[in-house]
């Protein structure tokens, strides 16, 4: 079953800079797919188009059978509710608690007034608490995010994304800001959750080794074009095509 179908997607900034050209691929439900490529290849732009932060210049995005690319306002928000995104820099509200940050993900389902007052229901609180347990932060629920370590912050971000029970989880360089050991732990957690929940994950990475190890499939981007779509086993050859010359320069 397809979770996401992207057809001929392209993005041009200011009619001049082309970030993505003619990108097409599909994601099956329950797949863990990584987009790899050097920085500037268009990985982040792709994710921003997929979660509706940016409008595409052409092409089509179909998410669970719903066309997404032209949606605006309420309609766009309706699709966005089925998405979870985690970011390289966590994008959490630093001076609120971990719990508050996770609960923020319940806001799209709440009425205007209740949301403004922050009157979360008991079920929502329980869900948030159990998600924080799940990512291993049971003790840190009431700590301010700014007092947490980088790895813990990313765990909070994962809990926040899971709080939406997303049909598709997007991860933009989730471990690039973390040290190797913590990064590996985060990916192991992500992979484990993905397997048990049957989640569909699309992850950006410039770390080929980690992406190969954790993904079911790799997509290779270079200069905004999709140049590889296949199993991670064939990644060795791809390294040269995706990274081109820079592979020899020690990347």
């Amino acid at each position: 079953m397809t979770a996401l179908e992207v057809t001929a997607l392209s993005k041009t900034f200011d009619h001049r800079v082309t970030a993505l050209r003619d990108v097409s691929f599909t994601l099956n439900v329950g797949e863990f797919v990584s987009v790899i490529g050097p920085s500037g290849a268009g990985k982040t732009t792709l994710l921003r188009l997929l979660n509706g932060s940016e409008k595409c210049s052409g092409g089509r995005i179909i998410l669970n059978g719903v066309r997404f690319e032209g949606a605006r306002g309420r309609e766009r928000r309706a699709v966005q509710r089925t998405l979870g995104t985690i970011y390289q820099d966590f994008a959490l509200v630093e001076n609120r608690t971990a719990m508050d940050n996770v609960l923020c993900a319940a806001l799209p389902d709440m009425g205007l007034l209740r949301g403004l007052l922050g009157l979360y229901g008991r079920k929502q609180r329980e869900a948030a608490a159990s998600l924080l347990d799940r990512v291993g932060l049971a003790e840190k629920r009431e700590e301010l995010v700014r007092s947490l370590s980088g790895g813990q912050k990313q765990r909070v971000a994962i809990a926040r994304a899971l709080m939406r029970s997303p049909a598709l989880l997007l991860a933009d360089e989730p471990v690039a800001a973390l040290d190797p050991v913590t990064g590996r732990q985060i990916l192991e957690l992500l992979r484990e959750i993905q397997r048990t929940e049957g989640l569909t994950v699309l992850m950006n990475s410039h770390n080929l080794a980690l992406a190969t190890e954790f993904s079911d499939r790799l997509l290779g981007l270079r200069d905004g074009a999709l140049i590889y779509d296949g199993p991670p086993e064939a990644a060795e050859d791809m390294l040269r095509t995706v990274y081109g010359q820079s592979a020899e320069n020690g990347t």
């Binding site: 966005q80 998405l83 509200v93 630093e94 993900a105 806001l107 799209p108 949301g115 009431e142």
Partner: protein, 509 residues
């Protein structure tokens, strides 16, 4: 979480109670304001159309105003940079001189420029020199404090490294500490420069030179068309200074490199400063009564105990309470009005034309000096503390809106975008993402404003808007130094107490 929530509720409740008490004490009555709102436009209507032919006669007083603020800010900041290391715990190991200096700075900090200028006119005679002296002292006091706080939170690794190589402490300070605090220092100087332009525009009220002299004269002769011209020209000057400081701020932050015009502008600013310094008219001692300064000091040492102990509405306690209440209520009202204005004035949240419009409004509000607002509002609500509250509120709106907008414009928008990508609606994002992130900046801006307003509230008495200003200026004009000294000591004590309280509030949250 329970504890934090309770603590928050308790603090909030206590602040609300305090606000209600203060509002009651100062006779705040919004129905009265509403029923007489038509008079708000009275003075503005009489200012239109402004008399343009009056403009040429304004050039010299405006220059003199600018000169006082530029020279005073520069001198005061330079002095502050020299004294600040002696006040900071991590650079000056001897506690006794440090505490003496800090007490002295704290004492100087308690007086508004107008009172300092009035005192200066008794020593240096009438004219711009007295005004410059007042601005210098004011800037010195505020800057020293801000700078030593900066030094205490600055990383001193480089300084210690230099010291361990045998570099002397002053040299290490200049080479290793000043570069660390330079950016925030310059930002503070620019803030003070803007504030000082506004302050020096009214120093003429006590004869300390500048455009305030004319302003006072035209208002008392009811020549409102000319008052309008003066206010418009002041708006232009404030606008210019703000543009300059915004440009300098982007340079400091390193957002932009100076272009060719920019490179020419820096020497031009330096020349302007030097021209201001050297064209300053000297002090005029011909009317100075000998030993005035000594008598002022002796007034501080021999307070008038009768005034302190008096329990009725002319006693020191009552007057201080009234001044404090005016400042508290005014700041709170101002903060409540400023927040939505700031959100509307931020280019990040609103379309550009809307943002520019609201920024223009707040600029216009803050370019009108405090005392003029006092005179305008006194038509509406009559003499008394309520007018003082409204004046403080309006002035706070002007300045807080600016601070708030700046806070929004330098905010990390990534959490906002993350929530937006999850489909959270804008109002919810505002409440759960923007406000929590902004809270520390808002709180410190409001506390800072309250601190400033305490001083400003004590000059409102000069136009009859309540507070301790009227008896203080009356006592000074009658050379009753022991009474003036008592009031000054009371003012200093109040500012000290509030300072302690607000730093505690800042630490707790």
């Amino acid at each position: 979480m329970r504890r934090r929530t309770w603590q928050r509720l308790l603090t909030g409740g206590m602040l609300l109670l305090l606000f209600c008490l203060a509002a009651r004490f100062t006779g705040v009555s919004l129905p009265r304001f509403w029923s007489r709102r038509a008079h708000l436009g009275d003075i503005f209507a009489r200012m239109c159309p402004p008399e343009w032919s009056f403009l040429p006669r304004l050039v010299w007083p405006l220059w003199s105003t600018l000169q006082m603020s530029l020279t005073g800010t520069a001198l005061g900041s330079a002095l502050a940079l020299g004294v600040a290391p002696l006040c900071s715990a991590n650079l000056c190991p001897a506690p006794l001189p440090r505490w003496i200096l800090r007490c002295f700075i704290q004492f100087l900090r308690s007086f508004p420029t107008l009172i300092l200028a009035l005192a200066a006119t008794f020593v240096f005679g009438l004219g711009a020199f007295a005004g410059t002296a007042a601005i210098t002292v004011y800037t010195f006091a505020i800057m020293t404090r801000l700078t030593y706080e900066d030094i205490e939170s600055a990383p001193l690794g480089a300084c210690h490294a230099l010291r361990s190589m045998g570099v002397s402490l002053p040299a290490a300070y200049v080479q290793a500490v000043v570069p660390e605090i330079g950016g925030s220092c310059l930002t503070n100087v620019l803030y003070l420069l803007e504030a000082n332009v506004r302050h020096s525009a009214i120093l003429g009220y006590v004869g300390a030179g500048g455009v305030g002299l004319l302003l006072n004269e035209k208002i008392s002769w009811l020549e409102y068309d000319r008052v309008g011209t003066i206010l418009l020209s002041l708006l232009a000057v404030v606008c210019l200074i703000e543009l300059l400081s915004a440009w300098l701020t982007t340079l400091i932050r390193g957002d932009r490199r100076p272009g060719r015009a920019g490179k020419a502008l820096l020497p031009a600013a330096a020349v302007l400063l030097l021209a201001g310094l050297f064209s300053l008219e000297g002090p005029d001692f011909s009317h100075t009564i000998p030993h005035t300064a000594l008598r002022m000091l002796s007034g501080l040492v021999h307070p008038d105990w009768e005034l302190v102990l008096r329990a009725d509405s002319s006693g020191l306690g009552w007057l201080l309470l009234e001044t404090g209440s005016i400042a508290l209520t005014g700041t709170a009202l101002g903060a409540v009005i400023s927040l939505p204005l700031a959100l509307l004035g931020s280019g990040r949240l609103c379309p550009r034309p809307v943002a520019l419009l609201f920024r223009g409004v707040s600029l216009a509000v803050r370019s009108i000096p405090v005392l003029i607002w006092g005179l305008i509002l006194i038509r509406v609500t009559g003499p008394g503390a309520f007018t003082g509250v409204l004046t403080m509120a309006v002035c706070s709106v002007g300045l807080l809106t600016k601070r708030f907008t700046e806070a929004i414009d330098t905010l990390d928008m990534r959490p906002w975008n993350a929530l937006s990508a999850m489909g959270v609606r804008p109002l919810h994002r505002l409440r759960h993402c923007l406000l929590p992130q902004l809270a520390p900046a808002l709180r410190s801006a409001v506390l800072y404003r309250f601190d400033v307003n305490l001083r400003e509230a004590s000059v409102l008495g000069i136009v009859g808007a309540g507070g301790i200003g009227a008896p203080l200026i009356f006592a000074m004009n009658h050379y009753d130094w022991s009474q003036a000294g008592t009031i000054c000591l009371g003012l200093a004590a109040m500012i000290w107490a509030v300072d302690g309280l607000s730093s505690r509030l800042r630490r707790n949250s």
